[in-house]
């Protein structure tokens, strides 16, 4: 006895094909089923499929991460081998804390000055990110495949930034970068062998909800009034134009209003004075003391101190939460560097997996991980060459999200670096640092800038 077939027969008979309640159910099943044409069974199967598929629950909305640091961790630890080593530069020289205002670069000055480029330069080559980076580069941080089942709520309360979406980014021969759309964050750099590598960063989100409203005013009286006014205006205009023409009086009124609005010439003259540009180019020494959140030994000297790990962990998490960090990538000798997130040290270490290879550590911290519109957030970047070879042409590019407004003249650097802040055409800014000198082993520097949340 085929039980499933019998059950299916019952199901068919319950759909209205039962003729007599006194008959034997088994024989009734066979008779009714045999009476059914074949096409009717196909219709039943199709209808059941359609009904079942139409009852699927809605997919969950894009969800924000609970902590931004795990996004970067996933990008490097999911598949790629994690290389952890005690790479603290014990003999690292103390970096000078004299932060200088970074001057703005002209278009001609943006050409890198790193000098040991070999002749076999490959321009525009784009190398895919590391194995672990691909997941975050192609994946919205709020999607389910990122592996955060504990997220709650949709992601529209967060500002997401980073990655390389849309057209892939590439570097032209004139050092212009194409394919960096809004919210994209990429880094490009030169290798010793002459390749230009473009690598997207991970995608991160910040909590900054902004509200607006849609209004509607309903009133029957208001609609009637509009119609009456329209008719009255037509009649009055014609009658007045033919009889009396006090045009001179009206013209004079309009002229005064226009003159008042079009004569702020003094303002433009003052803005275009040369003195303002000279101020921009002047080097302003800022012997600043780092804020409390950044007054850490690793920021000042690059030395990792165990007692500061808790403070650093919180600040790093703030930074990862706040902005699309430029994941500075390093490719040595045509080998893709691996971003390694260590449990023994903060920051991200990029290496090619071989012993005695050059490595770069980048630590980014922020003053807060959430803000209301109008509040400022300060970012601090500390980069260190903890390898044994010279690293050159380190370039960091940050295309700020629409609601992050770069505070003019806020960029500072402890090392010689060219800086440019260029509008991206979408209302936000593209920040670009070019470290002028090659970074020697056990050397590093500090970058700082401030943004205001719109």
């Amino acid at each position: 006895m085929n039980t499933s077939g019998a059950n299916f027969g019952f199901w068919i008979s319950d759909c209205g094909l039962r003729t007599s309640p006194t008959r034997n159910p088994q024989s009734e099943i066979r008779n009714s089923a045999a009476a059914l044409p074949v096409w009717w069974r196909y219709v039943l199967v199709a209808a059941a499929t359609l009904i079942l598929c139409s009852c699927q629950a809605l997919p969950p909305l894009p969800l924000p991460p609970q902590d931004g640091q795990s996004a970067a961790a996933d990008a490097t630890t999911s598949e790629s081998p994690v290389v952890v080593s005690d790479s603290s530069p014990q003999n690292a020289p103390v970096a000078t804390m004299e932060l200088t205002e970074t001057r703005e670069l002209s278009a001609q000055e943006i050409t890198p000055t790193f000098s040991f480029r070999p002749p076999n330069v490959v321009i525009g080559q784009t190398i895919q990110p590391a194995v672990g980076d691909e997941s975050t580069a192609q994946c919205n941080c709020a999607c389910n495949s990122c592996g955060r089942p504990s997220w709650i709520g949709p992601g529209d309360e967060y500002l997401c930034d980073g990655g390389d979406f849309g057209l892939p980014a590439g570097v032209r021969a004139d050092w212009t970068v194409d394919g960096v759309e809004q919210e994209d964050t990429v880094a490009h750099y030169d290798t010793v062998s002459g390749n230009v590598i473009v690598t997207p960063s991970n995608r991160v989100c910040i909590y900054a909800p902004r509200f607006a409203a849609v209004r509607r005013v309903e009133s029957v009286a208001a609609e009637e009034r509009r119609l009456l006014i329209g008719v009255a205006e037509d009649d009055l205009n014609l009658a007045n134009a033919r009889k009396a023409q006090p045009v001179a009086h009206l013209t004079q009124r309009h002229a005064v209003a226009i003159d008042l609005g079009e004569q702020p010439a003094n303002l433009f003259r003052s803005r275009q004075q040369a003195g303002g540009l000279e101020d921009l180019l002047a080097t302003i020494d800022v012997k600043s003391t780092l804020a409390a959140y950044a007054a850490l030994q690793i920021i000042r000297t690059g030395e990792v101190v165990g007692s500061e790990k808790s403070k650093l962990e919180r600040s790093v998490q703030n930074a990862v939460t706040w902005s699309g960090d430029q994941a500075v990538q390093v490719v040595f000798e045509n080998k893709q560097a691996i971003a390694a997130v260590g449990v023994k040290q903060p920051g991200i270490v990029y290496e090619n997996g071989e012993p005695s290879s050059p490595r770069l550590r980048l630590v980014k911290i922020a003053s807060t991980n959430h803000a209301l519109p109008g509040e400022e957030v300060e970012f601090t970047l500390r980069f260190d060459n903890i390898g044994d070879q010279v690293i050159g042409n380190v370039t960091i590019v940050d295309n700020l999200a629409t609601r992050l407004e770069y505070e003019s003249q806020s960029a500072k650097s402890s090392t010689a670096a060219g800086f440019s802040a260029v509008p991206n055409g979408e209302g936000s800014t593209v920040l670009r640092w070019e470290i002028k000198d090659p970074v020697k082993p056990a050397d590093g520097g500090i970058l700082q800038f401030t943004c205001r949340v719109r």
């Binding site: 006895m1 085929n2 499933s4 077939g5 019998a6 059950n7 299916f8 027969g9 066979r30 089923a33 074949v38 069974r41 196909y42 039943l44 199967v45 059941a48 499929t49 079942l52 598929c53 699927q56 629950a57 809605l58 997919p59 909305l61 924000p64 609970q66 089942p149 709650i152 709520g153 949709p154 529209d156 309360e157 967060y158 997401c160 909590y207 909800p209 902004r210 509200f211 607006a212 409203a213 849609v214 209004r215 509607r216 005013v217 309903e218 009133s219 009286a221 208001a222 959430h370 519109p373 109008g374 999200a401 629409t402 609601r403 407004e405 979408e426 209302g427 936000s428 205001r452 719109r454």
Partner: protein, 252 residues
């Protein structure tokens, strides 16, 4: 055996049909997580002109930790105006500036606003209905409440007999304009002629609250008044940092 030996075997017998049905069920269940044919969870089946509380009540039927959650809402009155919340037994003491309250989804909270405009003695009775909640990081719920602004212009319109519907929505970050909010004023737009403000807000973001302002004096039977006043939490502005927002159940 169930094989039919009397005649020609049908192309699709019962066993095959049952197997196909099971296969269809299996395919539909396994593909359910990626099914996206129904689109985003918007309010397009609703209308802004529905009675207060109707939209929020239907929102509670959807998935999410909404039931029992007190969403912080900041209701701001124009300068000089006085605002008071309706509770059991009447309106509370009028207060200037703003109120920071914890409201439940689908609850209709009625206010009385006085001392606004040029004419003395004017008063209107707006209602606020929360139809969705926010999901801020732990401990920041009171720092990021839903702002509900009562502008002097809209209060005047309501006092002259108009009915103002204002749908507050959370901006879609992908559609947010790169403009700064001046003096903390909430940007707003007029719904096009004939368009439902709730539908317009759904297209621009995620509606979270509906403000309705009319010129009619409510009775005890109106929503938000008398016995129908929903539970509310009053937060002390001076001790916001120490206040705790009750959390609802976790649905996932």
């Amino acid at each position: 055996m169930t094989t039919d030996s009397r005649g020609e075997r049908p192309i699709l017998d019962r066993a095959q049909a049952a197997g196909l049905l099971r296969l269809a069920v299996l395919v539909c269940l396994t593909s359910g997580l990626t099914a996206d044919a129904q689109g985003p969870p918007v309010h397009w089946l609703h209308a802004g002109a529905m009675p207060p509380g109707a939209i929020g009540s239907q929102r509670l039927l959807r998935d999410g930790p909404l039931s029992g959650y007190f969403q912080p809402v900041r209701v701001r009155a124009p300068k000089g105006a006085r605002i008071s919340l309706a509770e059991e037994g009447g309106f509370g003491a009028p207060q200037p500036d703003s109120l920071l309250l914890g409201m439940q989804i689908a609850g209709v909270y009625r206010f009385r606003v006085t001392e606004f405009g040029s004419e003395p003695g004017q008063e209107v009775f707006p209602t606020v209905e929360v139809i969705d909640r926010l999901y801020p990081p732990a401990g920041l719920a009171l720092r990021y409440p839903i702002p509900v602004e009562l502008t002097a212009e809209e209060l005047e319109l309501a006092a002259r007999g108009n009915f103002v519907t204002r749908v507050i929505y959370l901006e879609d970050p992908n559609q947010a304009l790169p403009t700064s909010q001046k003096n903390g004023e909430q940007p707003w737009a007029e719904a096009p002629q004939g368009a439902d403000p709730l539908v317009v807000a759904d297209e621009l973001g995620r509606p979270v609250a509906i403000l309705r302002i009319g010129g009619r004096v409510p009775t005890a039977n109106d929503s938000g008044c008398g016995q129908s006043a929903p539970p509310v939490i009053r937060y002390d502005e001076a001790n916001v940092d120490a206040a705790v927002v009750p959390s609802s159940y976790q649905s996932r």
